[in-house]
Symmetry: C2
């Protein structure tokens, strides 16, 4: 069994990005600039955004953090989005989700110029992904593809089961795994809350990608010998032994599943760090205007 070390891979990629940025800057080019809008004080969001800012530093990017209290109006937020759309110094930006209930997330996402949408949530980027055109790919699926690539995990012709059909993980993950590409070319099955045959599908899978947000959902009896298991789950579970009062728990019952796997990602330290590094890669592409002019 090989433990997939997302922390090490992401550190490696950040170094690669930083080296490229220094080359760009040395050649007189512009340092990529990522801006992030954070609304309110949700603990998870604070942590994610702080980690993104830290990753920008590691990559040699310029970063800007724009904060609003939770009572910001939708109109104020949309005005800031428009300002960032117009700001030539900002190469890409994100609005950290979730947003307070009085603001339409979809409206905000669609207001972002797709050429600066480094989260890859705008319908144009989602559509281009589905068609197979160059675009900003949603960070978590892209990070998983990168792990499969760097660990030389064969995907062509394999049976890949994706658990979950969310817009930001399950659906784009399925799209990437079925694409004519390497990694890709897999036989992809998407299972979800309505699936009657989820367990059987998993038992037959060469690759399981679990993204349903149910701690310990995938148990040893659901996994065949030699399978590759990618765990996207990061549910906060109360844990008195931790300083924070909680621990992150994956969708996979790691202790019993790991011994059966050829490859498996831990939680934390597997997919998580790759998600942030994917955002950095998109920001580098934005800085280079590699996808859109």
């Amino acid at each position: 069994m090989t433990l997939i070390d997302g922390k090490a891979v992401s550190a490696q990629i950040k170094q690669e990005i930083a080296a490229e940025v220094e080359q760009i800057v040395a050649a007189g080019g512009k340092r990529p600039h990522l801006a992030a809008i954070l609304v309110g004080h949700d603990g998870g969001s604070e942590t994610y955004v702080a980690n993104k800012v830290k990753a920008c530093e590691a990559c040699g990017f310029k970063s800007s953090l724009i904060r609003y209290e939770a009572d910001v109006t939708e109109a104020e937020l949309l005005a800031k989005v428009e300002e960032l759309n117009q700001d030539a110094d900002v190469d890409g930006f994100i609005v950290q989700l979730p947003l307070p209930k009085h603001i339409s997330e979809q409206k905000v996402i669609e207001a972002i110029d797709y050429r600066k949408d480094v989260d890859g949530f705008h319908p144009i980027n989602v559509g281009r992904l589905a068609i197979g055109l160059p675009c900003y790919v949603s960070a978590t699926p892209n990070g998983i593809i990168e792990l499969l690539r760097r660990y030389n995990i064969e995907t062509s012709g394999k049976k890949c089961v994706v658990l979950g059909r969310s817009n930001i993980v399950g659906k784009p993950m399925a799209t990437l795994m079925m694409q004519k590409a390497n990694p890709g070319d897999a036989t992809v099955t998407v299972c979800h809350s309505h699936s009657r045959d989820l367990k059987k599908e998993c038992q037959e899978a060469d690759i399981i990608i679990a993204a349903i947000g149910k701690p310990n959902f995938v148990t040893a009896d659901m996994v065949k010998e030699g399978a590759v298991v990618i765990d996207v789950g990061t549910t906060r579970v109360p844990d008195a032994t931790k300083k924070s009062g909680f621990r992150l728990n994956g969708d996979v019952k790691f202790d019993e599943v790991a011994p059966k796997c050829s490859f498996i990602t831990p939680v934390p330290g597997g997919v998580g760090p790759m998600t942030i590094v994917s955002l950095m890669k998109n920001t580098l592409l934005a800085g280079k205007k590699a996808i859109y002019q």
Copy 2:
């Protein structure tokens, strides 16, 4: 075994559309107007476009056919697309594919105003479909969903195998079948040329949707007793007994598969007529500005 009669259903839907159009016109509204651009003289394209024009008549739509010889330049075609984008009388339009090799189909598709893209090929419509937002849905998948709906075929929790991963059928079909909707909520598997376990996947499927363009590919041994089989294939096979010199052949070996099915679509007369009627439904939506302003 129930034979799914796409011809009858499509005739019924055209009547429903025509009735709605007459109401709109009687109330002082505008008659929906579909324009089609046809380049060259490909036999299949000629037939498809002629059938679309005929369907417009049946629905009470205004239609315009714009013809170019095969040597039209990309710039000329793009100029016409822009003219139709601007033409307030045209509610929706299509550019019949395939185009001659010197013209980029993707460039032409992306030049179409997504609000008039009644084929649903523009990245914005593809992306909105993936996210689950209102949009123009690609005609063939939408026609199949309509058949499942009108025949009350249960899809929730069922195992649905889609054969083929094309941008206009396989991928959007998979998206629709896995959506939180009815029809939808199926466990969806997409198989293709690289799939090692295609036969086994089919044998376990409650619903098979075949869209690979290989005549008679799906044989009786691949289909379980009581399955629903939807045949999207329409390959032209030489046939001396036909006046045209060919017949349309589906992806399914109908004679041996049909007896095992609970429902099956014939070729022709199954999915084909539904594809055109889906385009008519999108045109009606465009005329009513039901999706975009």
